[in-house]
């Protein structure tokens, strides 16, 4: 096997695979992508896989909108012969306080400036056209965007990986990167349990594990893993209006999200306060808590049986926006992490941003603002609307 590459990418989630694809597309295809298990085995394969354009900050909205455009044609874009499962069944965002509702109005202005077709939904008859069985008690208002939805996180990752492979990228799974090797302030390669590989550039896309790897060369990135649990019900006939599947229903103040998949099952989760940990065990307490919160808004779900649950972790950054760090300690090391639970939906555009920077191409977004130095300078990338 080849031992020397131009670029080594650590992490075979959606971010690692998308970066590999975008770099290869720009002619830098001498790449080795390494994952410690299988592709999408980390946070990507455990995520809720929502795709939302109804963001509050211009930056997140831009990343999400441009990523959604790519998701819409991802099969053609990557040359994938299967479906990536994009289903634009919409997002219904609920506001339960006046303050939240005012924030939603500001968010709508941001979204409209980017051409997102999001709008206010009246709480009288109108809202039942989207979710017929919603309990509107305590609701202040709601907004909807039909182009939001979800995709299959596995197929999206495989699409990028296959596309990259066709352009010559090597993929090595079940290989653990033990050490990032650097010499005289420059990266040399990586030491894995399958031996040493050398490279000029190392892109660290290891999600929750990325800060630990970056720390080996002295980079301090304040991103930490946090467990988030998900549960799934038995499949039932479409719960939306007119025989359509129920859109994603989401509240930031009550901290929950629930959506119906094309299979008919309902996937849901809540925002919980969790310690910093790689623990991804499931708990029965979550089932009880999540059921309570969700069935308060959607009482019809009370009769459904829960058939499965799992957990994964968010890689949380202090301002809940991603970190793209060009290492000040080891030239050639780039760490991309800290997506804080919404990495999947912004990965396509983020990968383009990183690939453009590495290939010296222009980009409309300034990549420098994602550096972790923002946590010292105070130039945070704040986002008002996250679960």
């Amino acid at each position: 096997m080849k031992k020397a590459y131009d670029v080594i990418i650590i992490g075979g989630g959606i971010v690692g695979c998308a970066v590999a694809f975008e770099l290869a597309k720009r002619g830098r295809s001498d790449i080795l992508l390494i994952d410690k298990e299988y592709l999408s085995s980390g946070a990507t394969g455990r995520c809720g896989a929502g795709i939302r354009q109804q963001w509050g900050s211009m930056l997140n909205a831009t990343l999400a909108v441009e990523s959604t455009h790519i998701f819409e044609t991802l099969e053609d874009y990557t040359g994938y012969d299967r479906s990536c499962g994009l289903n634009q069944s919409g997002y219904l965002l609920l506001a339960y306080t006046e303050k939240e509702w005012e924030q939603f109005q500001e968010n709508l202005a941001v979204q409209h400036s980017l051409g997102v077709d999001s709008f206010t939904v009246g709480l009288d008859e109108n809202i039942y056209q989207y979710v017929p069985h919603i309990n509107t008690a305590g609701l202040y208002g709601a907004t909807f965007c039909q182009k939001d939805g979800h995709a299959d996180p596995f197929h999206c990752t495989f699409a990028y990986a296959q596309g990259a492979k066709k352009m010559g990228v090597d993929i090595l799974t079940y290989t653990h990167v033990d050490q990032i090797l650097a010499e005289q302030g420059k990266v040399k390669g990586v030491l894995t349990d399958q031996g040493e590989f050398s490279a000029n550039t190392i892109i660290n896309c290891a999600g929750g594990w990325a800060p630990g790897l970056a720390a080996q060369v002295g980079d301090e990135i304040p991103v930490f893993p946090e467990r988030h649990q998900i549960m799934v019900t038995e499949p039932v006939a479409p719960l939306g209006a007119d025989g359509k599947y129920m859109p994603m229903v989401m509240s930031f103040s009550r901290k929950f999200y629930v959506q119906q998949t094309p299979h008919g099952s309902l996937i849901m989760g809540i925002g919980e306060t969790e310690p910093i940990s790689f623990n991804i065990n499931s708990t029965w307490q979550f089932l009880e808590k999540c059921s309570k919160v969700v069935t308060d808004t959607l009482p019809a779900l009370k009769e459904l049986r829960i058939v499965r649950q799992w957990a994964g972790h968010y890689d949380m950054s202090p301002d809940r926006s991603p970190v793209i760090e060009f290492s000040p300690h080891a030239e050639g090391l780039v760490t991309i992490c800290g997506f804080s639970g919404h990495g999947f939906m912004v990965a396509p555009r983020t990968a383009i941003l990183v690939a453009n920077a590495l290939c010296g191409e222009d980009d409309s977004i300034d990549i420098k603002m994602f550096a972790s130095s923002r946590f010292q300078s105070g130039k945070l990338l704040l986002e008002p609307s996250v679960v």
Binding site: V236, A237, A300
Partner: protein, 102 residues
Amino acid sequence: MRIEEHPILKFDRGKKITFYYNGEKIEGYENETVAEALHAAGIRRLGYSPELHRPRGLFCAIGNCSSCFMTVNGEPNVRVCVLKCAEGMQVEEQQSKGVVKI
């Protein structure tokens, strides 16, 4: 058809009741499961599979396999192999995925 005599088992079937299968009157006993009563009445098809719409009948008979999902009194996805018969119960075949009552 029901087994009346058995060398080991005794059948305490309880009171005779009637319930409805797709609107049709079926006789059963209160200590029997719905699946038992339907089986005794010669009904083998309990519903259709959600994806390929093929007929589904009794399979595990112990509440594990989901093959006997039926709609009972409007509630979808009920495992009739572990549900006791009751007077006047409305049992219906499911054509596809269960429809949640709203």
